[in-house]
């Protein structure tokens, strides 16, 4: 879908911000909710756009499934699955404008996909073939941050730069419920509020930080965490792609209107393990997982599309085929990805020549050459 340039007039923003409670536009059983003011923010989203959002989510889930399989087959060192968080990621990423800039955590494969990143490039980090996969400037999305929370400060600084440049774009940073405990997040809130920085703090509260339920991090809702800093919070149903799109558009509009940061808590669920190294059966119940399975973000939008006559078996088949093609390309690209050459270890440590590094690189090349002479 096209990224709609919704520019909410600054003086009308409080009407939406005052809406109290969980923002939901599509109910769990796929019905349009009534009375939520956020509907006005997605008034341009018609049949074609709804189908596009659904296609995005299906493709993103298919990428995730394929990457999990590649890890199980030994082709990836690790994978952090996004299963269950497709709506939170696609809905927010599709609200972004081309000149906005994203600072993700490590699970935002769906966001990277929406920004145009080649899924094969996403795997490079997880295969251990490199530490990154793409040029951040080319796609408007930074390399995934593995140290949780660190990226929120980067987004805040980037947003300050937007202000200093006199531009009207925004920075958006993703982090999880666990990261909200980190000092870097608290400092980012403080700095962003102080600078009135055009930044959106997008927390995917997926209920679990590895084995720790969200109540270990906080006894108040995450959306409330910004209030003490003067940062308004929106709590949105993170499995409702339309609601997420609306909330993110509002936050971006606030940022562009010079009204500063917004904190969005997208309430969702990590349906899979933390990473392929994790075993959730050790710490959470089947009942907990079942409770969320019925809130599946894809099933919800599918139900809406079906009920409104916007999708049929033929549509689903076409979407599935397109997703399978992406997955096949992903697998092929992964298997063809070369391992780093020894010289690559020494590249990009510094911008300017460094004598010690040069010495070590030459010595190691000589050392490796010694094996060739021996054989």
């Amino acid at each position: 879908m096209t990224t709609a340039q919704v520019r909410v007039p600054g003086d009308r923003i409080p009407e939406w911000m005052d809406f109290d409670g969980l923002v939901q536009l599509i109910s769990v059983d796929g019905q349009r909710t009534v009375g939520c003011p956020y509907w006005e923010l997605v008034g341009d989203v018609g049949a074609a756009q709804l189908r596009d959002l659904y296609r995005d989510m299906v493709v993103v889930r298919r990428i995730d499934v394929e990457a999990m399989a590649l890890q199980r087959q030994g082709e990836l060192a690790l994978w952090a699955p996004l299963l269950g968080q497709e709506a939170a990621q696609v809905g927010s990423a599709r609200a972004l404008r081309p000149d906005d800039f994203v600072f993700p955590s490590y699970r935002e494969h769906g966001v990277a996909y929406c920004r145009g990143v080649d899924p094969v490039a996403m795997l490079r980090l997880w295969r251990g073939a490199g530490l990154s996969g793409w040029d951040p400037a080319e796609y408007g999305i930074a390399t995934p941050a593995i140290v949780v929370g660190s990226q929120a400060l980067h987004a805040t600084g980037y947003a300050l730069g937007i202000t200093l440049d006199g531009a009207t774009s925004a920075a958006l940073t993703y982090f999880g419920d666990g990261a909200t405990s980190e000092g870097d997040i608290a400092e980012a809130f403080g700095f962003a509020a102080s600078y009135v920085a055009p930044v959106v703090f997008f927390c995917q509260n997926n209920q679990w930080a590895i084995s720790e339920p969200v109540r270990v991090q906080s006894h108040a809702s995450i959306a409330q965490r910004g209030q003490g800093y003067g940062i308004p919070g929106i709590q949105v149903d993170g499995n409702d792609v339309l609601a997420v799109l609306a909330a993110t558009r509002l936050a971006l509009a606030r940022a562009s209107a010079g009204q500063g940061p917004t904190l969005i808590e997208a309430v969702t669920y990590r349906m899979g393990p933390h990473t392929t190294s994790d075993d959730p059966t050790r710490y959470r119940s089947h009942a907990d997982e079942e409770e969320w399975r019925v809130k599946d973000p894809l099933a919800r939008l599918s139900a809406l599309l079906r009920a409104e006559g916007l999708a049929d078996d033929g549509f689903d088949q076409r979407v599935a085929t397109a997703a399978d093609e992406v997955a096949a390309d992903l697998r092929q690209g992964c298997l063809a990805m070369p391992d780093p050459e020894p010289a690559e270890l020494f590249a990009h440590v510094y911008a300017d020549p460094h004598p010690l590094l040069r010495e070590e690189q030459v010595a190691y090349a000589d050392y490796l050459a010694g094996f060739d002479e021996d054989s």
């Binding site: 251990g128 140290v147 405990s181 000092g183 930080a209 590895i210 270990v216 391992d339 270890l345 010694g370």
Partner: protein, 327 residues
Amino acid sequence: MATMSLSKALNSGLRQAMERDPKVVLMGEDIGKLGGVFRVTEGLQRDFGDRRVIDTPLAESGVIGTAVGLAVRGYRPVCEIQFDGFIYPAFDQIVSQVARLRYRNEGRVSVPLTIRVPFGGGVGAVEHHSESPEAYFTHTAGLRVVTPSNAADGYRMIQQSIASDDPVVFFEPKRRYWEKGEVDDDGALSDIPLHRAAVLATGSDVTIAAYGPMVATALQAARIGHTEGISIEVVDLRSLSPVDFETIEASVNKTGRLVVAHEASVFGGLGAEIAARVSERCFFHLEAPVRRVGGFATPYPPSRAEHHFLPDADRILHEVDRSLQPS
């Protein structure tokens, strides 16, 4: 005696320490129900309760800073930092507070903290999960820094570290967690001082000093060397601050040659301190310059290139050869 992995030996040692002293509390991310990502604390929350085995919020500075407060209140906290690369948010608390509280308070305040840190590479991990940050901490006065290389030492040293009234940074070689060894698990505190190095292989031609994950590699190098007619002595440092120079010097005075091996970058690493000290103390016994082998002056590389970065037995033996035939 029992045969167990390093991970299990640490688990048993923690259990002993908790049974011995009710003031011992464990704190960290995912150490409760999950038992830690390496299962070192497995079953401890079940058996000692969630008031003594505490799942903390995700904030490393918070873990260490609140442990300081607990210590001031009379507790003996054992903090787990989930991975080496996650310790940096806690660096300020460790360097500016943990290390100096005794000095600042002229001995009136103790911080008997043990900070457990899985460290080192070789497990095919993503970035920030394979670091060797020990030299940052050995450079900091007020901290003791130790690392066991095997299950028996893991069991003994974790208990000694917890019993110590000084703060101890306890590095655990994560790629050796599943290697098994004989453990004397009788529950008694070891009478081998925590800072004492151990000679794990005797030899007469060259000494290799190593610690943590590199000890097994050094022992492998010694075995290969033996087949090539080179007699190699292996010293496991065990303690990185203080370093047991007495044991190292005795070995070097015998062999006349020293190679120091660690995973951390060679530049500014612990090998530099040992080489300098041995040059000062053993100069007239040395047959060759002290050699160092370790990581490059680069960040830790992506996992499919980590075998280049990590010294293996061949790279250690390469330095042994250069020590035997200095050009």
